[in-house]
Amino acid sequence: MTGKTFLGRLLVVIPAYNEEASLGRVIANVRQSAPEADVLVINDGSTDRTAEVAETAGARVITLPFNLGIGAAMQTGFLFARDFGYDFAVQVDGDGQHDPREIPDILAPVVAGEADVAAGARYIEDRGYITPGLRRFGIVLLATAISIITRRRVTDPTSGFRASNRKAICFCALHYPSDYPEPESVVLFRQARLKMIEVPVTMNPRYGGQSSITPFRSFYYMVKVFLAILIGLLRRAPRAQEVLDAR
């Protein structure tokens, strides 16, 4: 790959599906908070003007031919980061939920080598983020189960605000789950001996557009994630080192 000559070291990946309402603001905030970063939007088969908005805001845009789901979109970003030799990748949601001003906070421990993955967590400190009751219950249930399985304290396994180092990038490029990837990936990281830590962050309500969450999907989400995690435990887990060696 010759990408290294014209691309930087840090990639910010924003998976976006029909996020024209909020994406421009998110990209502007990212560019302000992390001016050294290359911003890559994965336009996941949007039917609105997501791609144009992203390009106008100065991001690189990869458009997928149809909607693949957040995990597969995110994995495309990891493939890009791997192929073009980025040392660090940060993922930020396109809906404005994550505050780009906190990118340096989640990036710092990864750059310092304290962890392979650092995830922004809502619940480590009380910062006034209010989650609707049932969803909060679901997240606590997941967090408890995952904490027991991984024997590490995890408070917000659904957080998609994460920073990864090169090792984690190469791992995720091959093994990132397709849909509802975050909780499952926490367990995968543990099995792959990638060290994940949580960093307290503030999360906002989305800027605009539609959330994809409905009661039925939330239920499906919980069942699917638990099944994926439990069956995942029965598999021989891929090791991050093998992924690096294979290249």
Binding site: R60, I62, T63, L64, P65
Partner: protein, 123 residues
């Protein structure tokens, strides 16, 4: 002598076999995918023809009315086929995802190269 029920199953199975073979001949169905259909079809033809085999299988499963074994065979065949198709769909889904990801990445590269070419041409 065949009872009416077994005869109906036999004729249906022959019909299915003919359709499957014809689909394979026209290349509308791949040989690999036709194997399970053919196996089920042959069983449903062979069992009604051999009353002894049918009785033996019925005895094995403790079935009082031997021809209902044909239901059992048909049901198991359909279950196996559906399960098999689920694995095929899963595989196609994964391949489809990887192809779409590569398509997206390649399109981006082509566009970057085109931009570079235009820059060079403008000089």
């Amino acid at each position: 002598m065949l009872d009416k029920f077994s005869l109906a199953i036999l004729l249906s199975a022959v019909g299915v076999l003919v359709i499957v073979l014809e689909l394979v001949r026209q290349r509308k169905l791949e040989e690999g995918y036709s194997l399970l259909w053919l196996a089920a079809g042959f069983l449903l033809v062979a069992l009604p023809l051999s009353r002894r085999a049918l009785d033996q299988v019925a005895g094995l499963f403790g079935v009082a009315y031997p021809p209902s074994v044909l239901f059992l065979v048909g049901f198991m065949a359909i279950t196996l086929l559906l399960l098999y198709f689920s694995t095929v769909i899963t595989r196609l889904n994964r391949q489809n995802r990887e192809a779409a990801q590569r398509l997206g990445l390649l399109q981006w590269r082509i566009r970057e190269l085109e931009k570079k070419l235009e820059e060079i041409a403008d000089r």
